[in-house]
Amino acid sequence: MFVIFARTLILYALVVIVMRLMGKRQIGQLQPFELVVAIMISELAAVPMQDTGIPLLSGIIPILTLLIAQITLSLISLKSIKARAIICGKPKILIENGKILQMNLASEMYTINDLLEQLRIKNIPNIADVEFAVLETNGQLSVIPKSQKRQLTPEDLKIDTKYEGLSYDLIIDGRLHLDNLKKINMDEKWLKEQLSKFGIKDYKSVFFASIDTKGNLFVQEKIR
């Protein structure tokens, strides 16, 4: 029992390291070959985890080999546009200037029902509202609605807006993030003063606190 426990932890740690080295992308954004590698790694790790008769190296070596292959392919894809087209494929336009490109739909084996489904998921129930629809290399559909059908922006209404950047996390789970505090050119004394306005004496009792570019502080205390 302890053997299986230890082997599971070792392989889990290895998979975490390998997935981390492969880069940060969500499942839905992976290229086909990246998804294949992720699935293969999980299978390779699972087998030695449960079968103690198989040496651990029989799981570790294939996983490392896949990591090498994956990094190599990603590197080639990064450096060469031609290779990228071969490895990842090219995006395909399915709707151009409001017209469905039937040949492209057929070549991608994408049915009109698939297209309508994806448009509905993108909150576009009417295909007539679409100017361009592009099937990306990761399988996602990118949609550009017709200019009259897109969402309004402040620019359309000629409204001036102020700059809106990222908000900075100042306190997470009672721990102060001094680096972010420095980024906004503030110090602990200032933060204590701000927290006292919320009736908070110690930042260690704060679950989460962040500040946006307008200087608005969001604070939530820990549950006692």
Binding site: P55, L64, L75
Partner: protein, 130 residues
């Protein structure tokens, strides 16, 4: 450090580790299998000449050697293969104890087959690839 250089370094390091480990593993398997085979051949000769005392002596040497080798092999090969060798060794021990020449020689032959098979299975050959 540049991402490309970092990636290339990771690839080269991992390839070096795997290649080194593969080479070391194969060498270890061939060397230790060779040692065991030689001992087995010696026992076979003793049995054919009915020198049972010497056969038992050599067998105990193999068993001692096997204790070290099995620990190393357990990290590298399927444990079923190790179990097969241990089963064959137990049988050989029993047959030699009872001075049974034909069964001893048969089982020693089987044991040799199991042992020879281990490094052959790990070699980079056409047969192993496909």
């Amino acid at each position: 450090m540049n991402t490309t250089i970092k990636a290339i370094l990771i690839i080269v390091l991992l390839l070096a580790i795997i290649a080194g480990l593969a080479g070391y593993t194969l060498n270890l398997l061939y060397t230790s299998a060779g040692k065991l085979e030689n001992q087995i051949n010696l026992i076979e000769e003793h049995i054919k000449e009915e020198q049972w005392a010497k056969a038992k002596q050599n067998l105990s040497l193999i068993l001692t050697e096997w204790e070290n080798i099995s620990r190393q092999w357990a990290i590298l090969i399927d444990h079923t293969e190790i179990d097969n060798i241990e089963e064959a060794l137990l049988k050989v021990q029993g047959y030699i104890e009872t001075n049974n020449a034909s069964l001893s020689l048969t089982e020693l032959n089987v044991l040799k087959g199991y042992i020879k098979h281990i490094p052959e299975k790990e070699s980079l050959t056409f047969k192993n690839l496909f």
